[in-house]
C-alpha cells in the first residue's frame, strides 16, 4: 500500500502541482477525498447517501479538508467513499472502461486533474489507508495496471466535460455541484462529475444497476443479433439446399411446396403468358429456361403440383420455341432424371434418347417445366427437333431414374425411329404423326417411367415418382401439341397425358389424393395397366394413324384406368389422322367427362387454373381447406336437416361475423380466423352451463322466468361483479346505448325514469 500510495502520489505529483500539503500522500489523499465528495455530490443519481455524503463531504472539504480527510480515513469513511466511488463508477458509462477510466483518473485527479473515477480516488485513499478496502473495491486491483490509460481517458473526458457540464450541471446537480464548483479542481470534479453525472443522467438508473453487467448485457445482445443473422442465413441456406436435395419434402413441403409451387406457378404463368402472347416466342425459351432454373432449386418440393400444372400448361402452351429452348436448356441445365423423364415421354418419341441425366426426381420440376415449354413451343416444324432432344433427355432421365435404362433406351430408340420418320415430314400431319409416335413412345416411356416411378415410390421417392409420372404424361401431351394444327388435339392429348401423369402420381403419391380430379385414381391403375398395354399399343400406334374411333374409344377409356393410357395412345394416332379436328372434338367431348380434362380442352387457362387449384388444394392441405370443409359441413347438414328440423342445431352458435368482430375488437391484435370454431365450441359449452345455472337461480327464487337479477347473481358468482364493481358499470362498459337504457333506469326531466319503473 505504501508503494501504491507512493506511486499514486508520484503520478499525482507529475500530473499536477502539489498543493501546499505537507506530504504527497496526504495531499493526494486530500485531493482524492475532495474529488470523492465532489463527485459524490455531483452525481445526480446517486443514492441518498450521496447527497448526504456529498453534503457532508463537500462541507468539510470547503472548510477543512483535514477533518474530512480524517473522517474519510476512518474505516466507515473509507467504506463510504468506496461505496460512493463505486456507485459513481457504476454510474459511469460502461463499467469496465469507465471504471478503468475512473480508476486511473482519480489517481490522476488526485494529482490535480479531475477524474471521474471515484474508484480511482478511492483506490488511492484505500491504498493509502487500508488494504482490505482495495479488495473490497472492485477494480482497485485492476486500477494499477490501468493507470496508464487514465490520462488519455481523463483528458478525453475532460475535453468533453465543458459540453456536458453545462447541460448536466443544471439538471443534476442540485446545488451541491454548484457549490462544489468553487475550486478549479472542483470544476474539474464537477465537470467530470457532471460528465459522469451526465453519463449517469443520460443513462437511466438502469445503467447503474447494470453497469456491472453491462458487458454481459451488451454481449448478449450482440450475440443475439449475430445469432439471428446467422440463423437467417442458415435458414436461407437450408431452404436453398432443401430443394436441391431430395428431401422428403414431398410430405413436409407444404411450405416448401407452396414456395416451390408458387415458384412453379410463376414460371408457369410466365409460360402461359408467353403462350398466349405468341405461339412462337423466343421469350418462351428463356422463360422456360428460367423456369427450369427455378426447378432445380425447387426440386423435390412440388412433385405433383408441378407436373400437373405443367401438364396443363403443356396443353395450353403451344410454342415450338420453348420446346427448342427446353431441350437445349434441358441438356445444359437439367440433368436431373426427373426432367429427363418428363421430357422423355413427350419428346422421347421424336428424339433419341435424352441425355443420361441423373435419375433424380429433383428435377422433376424442371422436366415438367420443360414439358410445358415443350408444349408451349409445340409447333410443327421445330417440334421434331425439339422432340428428339427432349425425348432423348427425357428418356435418359427416365432411364436413370428408373434404373431401367435399357428399357428406356429401347423406347427411345423406337421413339427415335418414330421421330426420324416424323422428322422427314414437316407437315402438320407429319408433326402429328411424330407427336403420335412420340406420344406412343412417351406412353411407352410413361409405362416404363410409371413402372419406374412405382419402383421409385417403393423406394420411398415419392416425389421423384410423381415427377416422373407427371413427366411422362406431360411429355406425351407435349409431343402431341407439337403438331401445329393440333392445338385442340394437343389439349386433348395433353389432357390424356396429364391424366396419365396424374394417375401415376396418385399411385405414387399417397398424399396426392384425388382432390383435384377423379382422374387420378384412374390414372394410377391406368398407368399400371396401361403400361404394358401401352407399350404394345404404342408400338402399333406409333407408326399408324388411328382414326377418330380410336380417339373416341380413347376418350371413353379415359375414365377407365386401362383406357387412360390407351386413349393417349389412341389420341395420338388420331392426331395423325387428318381428322384432327374431329378427333379433337370427340376427345373434347369425351374429355368433358373428365372434369379437369374437359375444362382444359374447352379452355386452356381455366383447365390449367383449375388443375392448379386442384393441385393447390391437394397440396395445400391446410386449415383453409379444413375450414372450408368445416364451414361447408354445417351447410350441407343444414340443407339436409331442413326438411327434418326447422332449427338447425348444428349451426346454433352465434353468428361468426359478430363473434369475430367482438373478438377482434377485444383482442386489439390480429386474430386468426380459424379460431372461430374453437370459440364456438367454448361458447356452446358455456351457454349450456349458463342456462342451467340461471335456471337454478330462478327456481331458487321460486320464479319461473329468468330475470335480470339472476344474471346479476351469476355475474357476482363469476367474479365479474364485486363489491367494487357494480353491475351497472359493466353494463355501461359493454352494451350499446340502446340496451343500456333498457337495463339502467335513467332519470330524465319531468321526474320520469326510463325505463318505467313501477316500484
Amino acid at each position: 500500500m505504501a508503494e501504491n500510495s507512493a506511486t499514486n502520489v508520484r503520478r499525482s505529483m507529475r500530473l499536477k502541482n502539489t498543493p501546499g500539503l505537507e506530504s504527497p500522500g496526504s495531499a493526494l489523499r486530500h485531493r482524492l477525498k475532495k474529488k470523492l465528495h465532489e463527485s459524490a455530490s455531483s452525481s445526480p443519481l446517486p443514492s441518498p447517501k450521496r447527497p448526504r455524503s456529498a453534503v457532508a463531504n463537500t462541507k468539510p472539504p470547503v472548510t477543512a479538508p483535514s477533518p474530512v480527510y480524517d473522517e474519510d480515513m476512518t474505516t466507515r469513511g473509507l467504506l463510504r467513499g468506496i461505496i460512493q466511488m463505486e456507485t459513481e463508477a457504476s454510474l459511469l458509462m460502461s463499467g469496465q472502461p469507465a471504471l478503468q477510466k475512473s480508476e486511473p483518473n482519480p489517481a490522476e485527479s488526485s494529482a490535480g486533474e479531475r477524474t471521474e473515477g471515484l474508484s480511482g480516488v478511492e483506490l488511492s485513499d484505500l491504498t493509502l489507508n487500508t488494504e482490505p478496502l482495495t479488495h473490497v473495491v472492485r477494480g482497485l486491483s485492476r486500477k494499477k495496471p490501468q493507470h496508464a490509460f487514465s490520462v488519455s481517458a481523463f483528458e478525453e473526458q475532460f475535453n468533453q466535460l465543458p459540453d456536458n457540464t453545462e447541460d448536466t450541471s443544471h439538471v443534476f446537480h442540485k446545488g451541491d455541484v454548484s457549490q462544489a464548483k468553487g475550486d478549479a479542481s472542483q470544476d474539474l470534479d464537477l465537470s467530470s462529475g457532471s460528465k459522469s453525472g451526465l453519463n449517469l443522467t443520460l443513462k437511466t438508473p438502469f445503467v447503474e444497476k447494470r453497469i456491472e453487467r453491462a458487458g454481459l448485457q451488451r454481449k448478449v445482445s450482440n450475440r443475439r443479433l449475430q445469432s439471428v443473422d446467422a440463423f437467417d442465413e442458415a435458414v436461407q441456406r437450408c431452404l436453398e439446399q432443401g430443394p436441391n436435395q431430395e428431401h422428403s419434402v414431398f410430405q413436409d413441403g407444404k411450405t416448401l411446396e407452396d414456395s416451390s409451387w408458387q415458384k412453379f406457378t410463376l414460371g408457369l404463368s410466365d409460360v402461359t403468358e408467353l403462350y398466349v402472347q405468341s405461339k412462337k416466342d423466343d421469350t418462351m425459351g428463356p422463360s422456360a429456361e428460367n423456369e427450369r432454373e427455378h426447378e432445380p432449386e425447387r426440386a423435390s418440393d412440388i412433385p405433383d403440383s408441378e407436373p400437373l400444372i405443367q401438364e396443363e400448361k403443356d396443353h395450353e402452351m403451344e410454342s415450338q420455341d420453348e420446346e427448342e429452348v427446353v431441350p437445349s436448356s434441358q441438356d445444359d441445365v437439367y440433368v436431373s432424371a426427373e426432367d429427363d423423364i418428363v421430357l422423355a415421354p413427350t419428346q422421347a418419341m421424336t428424339e433419341s434418347l435424352p441425355k443420361s441425366h441423373d435419375a433424380e426426381l429433383q428435377d422433376r420440376e424442371f422436366v415438367e417445366e420443360v414439358e410445358i415449354g415443350n408444349v408451349v413451343e409445340t409447333e410443327d416444324q421445330e417440334v421434331l427437333e425439339i422432340e428428339d432432344d427432349s425425348v432423348e433427355e427425357v428418356e435418359d432421365e427416365s432411364a436413370e431414374e428408373v434404373e431401367d435404362e435399357s428399357a428406356e433406351e429401347v423406347e427411345d430408340e423406337s421413339a427415335e425411329e418414330v421421330e426420324d420418320e416424323s422428322a422427314e415430314e414437316v407437315e402438320d400431319e407429319n408433326a402429328e404423326e411424330v407427336e403420335d409416335e412420340e406420344v406412343v413412345e412417351a406412353e411407352h416411356e410413361n409405362i416404363d417411367t410409371s413402372q419406374y416411378l412405382e419402383r421409385i415410390t417403393r423406394r420411398a421417392h415419392r416425389s421423384e415418382g410423381g415427377g416422373a409420372v407427371l413427366g411422362i404424361p406431360g411429355t406425351t401431351r407435349v409431343t402431341k401439341s407439337f403438331g401445329a394444327g393440333l392445338n385442340p388435339r394437343e389439349k386433348d392429348l395433353l389432357d390424356f397425358v396429364d391424366e396419365g401423369r396424374e394417375r401415376l402420381q396418385d399411385i405414387l403419391d399417397e398424399e396426392r389424393e384425388p382432390l383435384g380430379s377423379p382422374e387420378f385414381p384412374q390414372l394410377h391403375p391406368a398407368a399400371e395397366l396401361s403400361t404394358p398395354e401401352q407399350r404394345s399399343q404404342q408400338h402399333e400406334a406409333s407408326l399408324a394413324e388411328e382414326d377418330v374411333p380410336e380417339l373416341a374409344e380413347d376418350n371413353d377409356a379415359q375414365e377407365e384406368p386401362n383406357q387412360s393410357e390407351e386413349e393417349l395412345m389412341d389420341s395420338e394416332p388420331a392426331n395423325h389422322s387428318p381428322e384432327f379436328p374431329q378427333d379433337v372434338e370427340e376427345e373434347e367431348e369425351e374429355d368433358d367427362d373428365d372434369d379437369a380434362l374437359s375444362a382444359e380442352l374447352s379452355m386452356k387457362t381455366p383447365a390449367f387454373v383449375r388443375q392448379k387449384r386442384v393441385f393447390a388444394s391437394r397440396t395445400a392441405q391446410t386449415t383453409p381447406t379444413v375450414l372450408k370443409e368445416v364451414n361447408a359441413g354445417p351447410a350441407p347438414q343444414v340443407a339436409k336437416r331442413a326438411p327434418r328440423q326447422k332449427r338447425q342445431t348444428g349451426v346454433d352458435v352465434l353468428p361468426k361475423s359478430y363473434v369475430m368482430s367482438v373478438f377482434k375488437h377485444f383482442a386489439k391484435t390480429k386474430v386468426a380466423s380459424d379460431v372461430y370454431p374453437a370459440i364456438n365450441e367454448i361458447l356452446k359449452k358455456y351457454f349450456e352451463r349458463l342456462a342451467d345455472d340461471l335456471e337454478a337461480y330462478a327456481t331458487h327464487a321460486k320464479r319461473k322466468t329468468i330475470e335480470v337479477e339472476d344474471f346479476e347473481l351469476l355475474m357476482r358468482r363469476q367474479g365479474f361483479v364485486t363489491d367494487t364493481t357494480p353491475v351497472n358499470i359493466l353494463i355501461e362498459k359493454y352494451l350499446p346505448m340502446e340496451y343500456r337504457k333498457l337495463l339502467i333506469p335513467v332519470a330524465t326531466s319531468g321526474n320520469k325514469v326510463i325505463p318505467n319503473q313501477r316500484r
Partner: protein, 75 residues
C-alpha cells in the same frame, strides 16, 4: 364497437334445454355476460399468444385457455 347483439340467438341458447322463460331484458344481461366472458377469453388468449411471441391469436392459444376459463366462470 357496438354491434347489434343477436338477442334472438342468445335467447335460443338460453332456452335450449329447459322450458324456463326468459325475462324481458334478461337476454341483454346475457349479452353482457357473454361479452364479459368473451373479453376475458380474449385477454387470456392474447397473453398466451404473447408468450409464444406471436402477434396473432391462433387457435391453440384459445384452446389452451378455454378449459381454464370455463372452470373459472362457473357459478
Amino acid at each position: 364497437m357496438s354491434k347489434k347483439a343477436p338477442r334472438a340467438a342468445l335467447k335460443l341458447h338460453m332456452k335450449k334445454n329447459t322450458n324456463i322463460r326468459i325475462g324481458k331484458n334478461a337476454d341483454l344481461m346475457a349479452q353482457l355476460n357473454l361479452l364479459v366472458v368473451l373479453h376475458r377469453l380474449v385477454e387470456e388468449s392474447r397473453v398466451k399468444a404473447f408468450e409464444e411471441k406471436s402477434a396473432t391469436i391462433k387457435v391453440h392459444h384459445v384452446r389452451a385457455v378455454a378449459k381454464k376459463l370455463l372452470k373459472s366462470t362457473r357459478g
